[in-house]
Amino acid sequence: MSHATESAPHAHPEAAGDQHAAAHEPRDSTPSTKRARERRAIVVGASSGIGEALVRQLCAEGVDVVALARRRERLEELALSCGGSAGRVIPCAHDVSDFAAVPQLFEALVRELGGLDLFVFASGLMTEVGPNEFDTAKDLEMLAVNLGGCVAWTNEVAKLFRTQRSGVIVGISSIAGERGRKGNPVYGTSKAAMNHYLEALRNRLADFDVHVCTIKPGFVETAMLAAARAQGRSIKGAITPEAAAKSILRAARARRNEVFVPFKWTLVAAVIRNIPSFLFKGMNI
């Protein structure tokens, strides 16, 4: 576990070295070219699926990554399997719906990394909801993780990125946020709300050179998809998490605003968005 104690703020000034150096050589030497490749990242929701693939790809490229999720063992396996990579993987077990813990944990992690250039929120919970089920407890749990967790983390990141006038925020939303479908009303709601929140942040932070990228995946071979298949849904044409991660990093680095992954979903979404309600009511999509 890397947060909390050993990465707490610096000890009392007497413990540290030359003062005057501060003016001459700042310790944190971010490359001065604009849009430099990121060196330090946090991925929330890193124990499987897209988050895990992003961690693997980033650390292979030499980025130091904090991999954060609930399941400690999964994270430790991930860190172990990335052992030979150019970048470090720092596992951190945390439940994103533990909002009150976020500010301190975030500070400790950024200090551990020595700064932050990229933040990815990839946590997502899709609970199975029956066609006639209206279960508030299930729904609020999804909102807590997908939306509450996203807001709790990304707000902290936004405060840091705004004041340092650099950084990229990536939110992994979903195609499910495009229309209010019958299937899982609150999952879709959480993603639609996330899209709205991320767009607002993008506009707020634009003047500070901070970019917010909303990713809307279609079908990706993840645990979420496996669960949907287990319910008997037939899903074809899904891409691997690795392919998704590649597209996502490309989109984030190109400072794209909203991107469907894979690309074909851009067209699907355009169609779905434009189906009139009187028809949509009768459809089973």
């Binding site: 707490a8 610096h10 000034p13 003016a23 719906s97 500010p103 709790a152 405060k159 006038r165």
Partner: protein, 488 residues
């Protein structure tokens, strides 16, 4: 079920941010605590103590250098304590919380015919920051610093005591904390005197001057009449044109001179427009300025401004709103971004020596020549007249200051700091001083040379009494104070 409450009652609001000086060239990540009451100031002290880190105090974050930066601990940002507690419409005396900005102050008092006695070139500093830095304005030669306009304040000491200070009560702490850069305690209430005015406008004259000598002669000849005097200097040309510039001379209007003071004293009359020619948003102007932010570009802009100043000098005096005249730095929002927004090692520093009258011309001319010689010409130079004041660590002398804005880039940085060290030698040898709201470069041994020894010893003694464990300790303290404070 989830509990969406993330903050407990009584917690001091805090967040983890990048905290930088206004000039952007110096900054660090830090936890920022934002108290909303005197009790929360105490709690912020306790938090830093509990976590074993130091605390730097911050107001609006308008000091150019490291005055409110702390790369080894927390930062206490006072800006949430921003209520005006009382305003006496007869006497103009204001009682305010420490986080009230100069903007909020003037907007509160102007409609009643008052204006702050002292304002900085920007309206965004807080009163606490303004007092801690003992700021001055373009009328320093006439009315002194903001400390001279302060009647009383309350200060929370790291020991947990609350002291009320004035010229009569706790006079030592009064004269040490004003200009003490937050090293003794945190202001929690401030009582200021303000000035009665009879119009929302001032009468302004532009006077073009061919060199520094001419500018100084004008100041001397007019300083008993004028209420405000400020000189802009084009730092690029050498030889006969060295120190050429433009003076702005302003006077308050006398009773009756403004036929409709009720109109000009409206806040709407004072506001700086948000758009240029009603169209182009000013918030984007820095992007255009950044195209000129090179030696060649700034040489051209300075030359163009000089020519415009010559034309202005031929014209008649004109009326300008108080805010329009006072807050030149706020005309183009975030103009500093033209110096490069990329964090770390970029931005600007301001170097502002204060030099005694007798040698001011010689010294300031020498400074400019040295800058030109090494090819680090300030992009902006501002010249002002000052008078002494009774505050222990004051920058003010009976003399002249020359504020020089230098561009900082990774390649220029080392040479620039070396240049400043050389300039500092010249200034200190001449009996000059520096101002920590601007300064980013002076070392502790230099501080001990330019400030009077008796005042330094007294300040050190007071620091030990008010803050025995050195809780209040940011980058500025470590750079420019600690060594002599510990030694004395």
């Amino acid at each position: 079920m989830q509990n969406f409450a993330v903050r407990q009652r009584g917690d001091v609001a805090s967040s983890f941010e990048y905290v930088e000086g206004w000039g952007m060239a110096i900054g660090a990540h830090a936890r920022v605590l934002r108290p909303r009451s005197t009790e929360e100031i105490l709690r912020a002290f306790e938090l830093a103590r509990r976590d074993g880190v130091s605390l730097a105090l911050r107001g609006g974050g308008n000091s150019y250098g490291d005055a409110s930066v702390n790369e080894r601990g927390y930062v206490l940002d006072i800006s949430r304590m921003d209520r005006v507690l009382a305003f006496d419409r007869e006497s103009g005396v204001v009682v305010a919380e420490p986080g009230v900005t100069i903007e909020k102050l003037w907007k509160t008092i102007l409609p009643h015919g008052f204006w702050p006695r002292v304002v900085s070139g920007t309206m965004f500093p807080t009163l606490a920051g303004a007092l801690a830095a003992n700021i001055h304005g373009k009328n320093n030669f006439a009315v002194g610093t903001i400390g001279d306009a302060c009647r009383e304040f309350d200060i929370v000491l790291p020991t947990g005591e609350l002291r009320t200070c004035s010229r009569e009560r706790n006079a030592d702490l009064f004269h040490a904390a004003i200009g003490g850069f937050g090293l003794l305690g945190c202001f929690s209430r401030i009582v200021l005197e303000t000035k009665h005015i009879y119009s929302g406008n001032v009468r302004v004259r532009g006077i073009s001057t061919r060199n520094l000598r001419e500018m100084m002669q004008y100041f001397e000849a007019n300083k008993t009449r004028a209420d405000y005097l400020v000189g802009w200097i084009d730092c690029f040309p050498g030889g006969d044109d060295s120190g050429r510039g433009l003076i702005h001379d302003a006077e308050y209007l006398k009773p009756g001179e403004d036929a409709h003071p009720e109109d000009t004293l409206r806040i709407a009359h004072q506001e700086l427009p948000a758009n240029i020619m009603g169209l182009f948003p000013k918030s984007q102007v820095w992007r255009i300025l950044s195209l000129f932010n090179t030696d060649l570009g700034m040489r051209s802009i300075n030359a163009a401004k000089y020519v415009a100043g010559m034309l202005e000098g031929l014209g008649e005096p004109y009326l300008q709103s108080h805010a329009g005249f006072s807050f030149l730095l706020d005309y183009v929002p975030n103009w500093k971004w033209a110096y490069g927004r990329q964090r770390v090692d970029r931005g600007l520093i301001q170097y502002q020596p204060f030099v005694p009258d007798a040698v001011a011309h010689e010294v300031h001319t020498e400074l400019l020549a040295r800058c030109r010689k090494v090819g680090q010409v300030p992009y902006l130079g501002v010249f002002k007249r000052h008078r002494p004041d009774p505050f222990w660590l004051t920058h003010a002398v009976d003399g002249w200051s020359f504020a020089l804005d230098f561009k900082v880039t990774p390649t220029r940085r080392a040479q620039l700091w070396k240049l400043c060290d050389e300039l500092t030698e010249v200034v200190i040898a001449a009996g000059g001083r520096f101002y920590f709201a601007k300064d980013a470069v002076v070392a502790a041994e230099d501080t001990a040379r330019f400030l009077p020894h008796d005042k330094l010893a007294a300040f050190a003694k007071l620091k030990r009494a008010c803050d025995p464990e050195t809780l209040l300790d940011g980058n500025l303290y470590r750079r420019a104070f600690r060594d002599w404070l510990v030694a004395s």
